[in-house]
């Protein structure tokens, strides 16, 4: 397999052009959806059935309570119904899901992670896939978006304690944005060859004497929201490497486009809502620069074809699909880890060491380039506040962001935010390698074993969901530790973001003066980029040195 630089650069360029073309109309549409006040008839019916007072806006604790109550109920329901799978009609021979796996999976899908401790083919039937997991693919993506919107409202509004209505926001984003986009994408995926039926087909190749049962299922409908909502949970175990999820290189490129689509449109929404499009462009430019740099590095690392086994094979091949090869694999691997998607079209565990390392670094960046649906934007906005603070320290002025004073309260919340994921990743990965029973679940040897563990917790705490697949996480110990990483990695940041939103919403606006640091333009963009990269490097360099860097640089 050869790495074709021309094809790689053209595809990366095409993605940038396509996203640049659609980010404005989609971002504008998203802004209109969350700004709108009129409810459609179906929405009014839904509000009446669910007891939502759509006319009332909520304070940040009430908004947060909505997020947490909704997520808790979702986790309980997804867990309970997986356990009851055996008695639900239409699931064939499959019985109830193992309690540890069911717990891990419920948390995983509600937190937008889609870590899969199970092999879907042998574990979950059509009902669980379609009625539970795919539903959370929509809703967890929508939760991320509405939290970002609440933060923007906090920055825009003055002297209020109201951030909007969680249920109304959730309804609008789910049914006006995600559902129509998913439907159109799913139909296009079917045209490209993705399966969408409810039965399997027995085939017999009489000449060869081979009988097979070709699986079926509502794959395209799940695939569409899997990538659009930056979820990443595959209908099949091999995820987007499975020919029925991803039949050819054109579909693969389309999937990369879809998983980048909403996160890269949200900066435009942000610029629009704060009434200064330059703010949105700067955020988008930082995301785009990081994406391009990381994609190029990942491509370079894949094309190096490092590794003793790789050299013995005469090139890349292990863990790659022939119809894709290294170019689509590198594009997919970079974008799936720079967003919180975690779908894969090649086995990340078998990537050349530095390419595997790049996928880990991408997640460690906090998934802000462009990140998960909503979580990418609120992550980068928090980093903007950190950047403003650092710039303020340099010149000795009180930092402000979008006319809001960044005081001690705001800084404490922002600082806690950026501490949450590194703490979870390093502490839990550290605990795992110290417990012989836990580390035995990663079968590799040497630095690669540590990479498998580090990847798992980086993926869990950042709500990515991809894996170095050699690790087995279905046992009680790892499914619990990873469940904890996913749960805290999702909801602690959300608590802090909404608290911050509530805090800045109460303030008045400070007028722009000569001493105000502009938070748009190349200077601030470069500062924000630097802060993002340096914070990641400071937090994770020692861990990276023990895993992928050791494997990639020493041999």
């Amino acid at each position: 397999m050869t790495f074709t630089t021309l094809s790689f650069l053209l595809q990366a360029g095409a993605l940038l052009v396509a996203l640049a073309a659609v980010h404005k109309p989609l971002g504008l549409y998203l802004a209109r959806v969350v700004e709108g006040t009129r409810a459609a008839r179906a929405e009014r019916l839904l509000y009446r059935l669910t007891g939502v007072d759509a006319g009332t806006e909520q304070t940040w604790p009430v908004y947060l309570r909505g997020v947490l109550a909704f997520s808790a109920v979702s986790i309980l329901l997804v867990f309970a119904l997986q356990r009851l799978q055996g008695v639900i009609p239409g699931t064939g021979p499959l019985s109830g899901v193992d309690p540890w796996v069911a717990m891990n999976t419920a948390i995983s899908f509600v937190t937008n992670t889609n870590w899969q401790a199970y092999a879907p083919e042998a574990t979950v039937g059509i009902f669980v896939q379609m009625g539970l997991l795919a539903v959370q693919n929509f809703l967890s993506a929508a939760v991320g978006i509405v939290v970002a919107v609440a933060l923007i409202r906090g920055l825009v509004r003055v002297r209020t304690d109201r951030l909007g209505n969680f249920w109304v926001d959730l309804t609008r984003v789910t049914y006006r944005v995600l559902l129509p986009l998913a439907f159109v994408s799913a139909v296009l995926l079917v045209l490209g060859g993705v399966v969408q039926n409810f039965w399997s087909t027995d085939v017999a190749n009489q000449a060869m004497g081979v009988n097979q049962t070709i699986p079926g299922g509502p794959v395209a409908s799940q695939e569409a929201i899997k990538v659009l909502g930056t979820n990443g949970g595959g209908y099949f175990n091999a995820n987007s490497a499975h020919p029925f999820e991803n039949p050819n290189a054109a579909v693969s490129l389309f999937q990369v486009f879809l998983l980048l689509l909403i996160p890269s449109a949200l900066p435009y929404t942000f610029g629009r809502l704060v009434g200064d499009r330059r703010q949105g462009f700067t955020v988008a430019a930082v995301m785009g620069t990081l994406w391009l740099a990381s994609t190029l590095l990942t491509g370079w690392a894949v094309s190096s074809a490092q590794g003793t086994a790789t050299a013995a094979a005469g090139g890349l091949g292990e863990g790659f699909e022939q119809r894709f090869g290294p170019v689509p694999a590198a594009l997919y691997a970079a974008s799936t880890t720079l967003t919180s998607t975690g779908a894969v079209n090649a086995a990340h565990d078998s990537l050349p060491p530095l390419a595997g390392g790049m996928t880990i670094i991408n997640m460690m960046l906090g998934e802000v380039a462009p990140g998960g649906t909503g979580s990418g934007l609120y992550g980068l906005l928090i980093l903007s506040i950190i950047a403003v603070f650092i710039a303020g320290l340099m010149v000795g002025r009180t930092p402000e962001y979008l006319g809001k004073k960044i005081g001690p309260t705001e800084m404490k919340l922002a600082a806690l935010y950026i501490l949450v994921t590194p703490t979870l990743v390093l502490a839990l990965a550290g605990v795992t390698v110290l417990l012989p029973d836990a580390v035995a679940n990663a079968p590799a040897t040497g630095p690669h074993q540590f990479s498998e563990v580090l990847y798992a917790f980086t993926s869990g705490a950042n709500n990515n969901g991809s894996a170095f697949g050699g690790i087995t996480s279905s046992g009680p110990l790892l499914s619990t530790l990873l469940g904890l990483a996913m749960l805290l990695g999702r909801f602690l940041p959300i608590v802090l973001v909404l608290a911050l939103a509530g805090s800045v919403a109460r303030q008045g606006k400070i007028p722009v003066s000569a001493g105000t640091l502009p938070t748009h333009g190349p200077l601030f963009g470069a500062l924000l980029l630097g802060v993002t990269v340096i914070l990641t490097a400071l937090s994770y360099f020692p861990a990276l040195a023990l895993g992928p860097l050791a494997e990639g640089l020493i041999r």
Partner: protein
């Protein structure tokens, strides 16, 4: 106390909201995609099934088919698919998930290389990477044009066909064009073996299946 009541009220709303979402997103949406798929692209929606000359469903164009013994060696009369971590069983799918420096992987690659070289009567360095490495899904229906070319002589001899005719069948099942530029050129082994079977049956009219 008010917080607890607030949570309970929100939990009630959450449950009702979730049930409504399950009906719309969990059932109506996939059914709508199913309906649209069956209407505009039923062949793809139902798994790209290929039929044999008698019209019976024989394979999926997207899923590998291999006739292999318990040891994993594939039937020498047919074009071989790539090595599979799941023994080409479409009821599952997986990669080997072995690292690029893994000793087990190194072993299996070296053994595979020797086996392929021996079977095709070529030198070890002529064996392409895809012939000795397991795919990401274990169900990869494709091989590289180089690996297909290596197998032509063996298959032609086993099937009593002219090698030039078999080469023609390989060309007919090679994916070029845009998707090959985006990914890489590949030969669909599943479709190729069906074409070989048809050609062999036509060449020996006495042989009935």
């Amino acid at each position: 106390m008010t917080t607890i009541f607030g949570y309970l009220r929100q939990a009630g709303t959450a449950l009702r909201f979730l049930l409504a979402a399950t009906l719309v997103l969990g059932f109506a949406y996939p059914l709508a995609v199913f309906g649209a798929g069956q209407l505009i692209a039923p062949a793809q929606a139902n798994g790209s099934i290929l039929r044999d000359s008698a019209g019976r469903p024989a394979a999926s164009a997207l899923i590998a088919q291999a006739s292999a013994g318990d040891g994993g060696a594939q039937d020498p009369r047919w074009f071989h698919a790539r090595p599979s971590a799941v023994a080409w069983d479409p009821a599952s799918s997986s990669a080997s998930n072995l690292g690029p420096n893994d000793a087990k992987l190194l072993d299996s690659v070296q053994q595979g290389r020797a086996a392929v070289a021996a079977e095709e009567h070529v030198s070890m360095d002529q064996v392409p990477a895809d012939a000795v490495t397991a795919s990401a899904s274990g169900l990869d229906p494709d091989i590289s044009p180089a690996y297909a070319k290596l197998q032509v002589a063996r298959v032609a001899a086993a099937q009593g066909l002219d090698p030039a005719a078999v080469e023609e069948l390989v060309r007919g099942n090679t994916r070029g064009g845009v998707t090959a530029f985006l990914g890489q050129p590949s030969v669909n082994v599943t479709a190729l073996n069906l074409a070989v079977a048809d050609a062999a049956a036509a060449a020996q009219p006495g042989r009935t299946k």
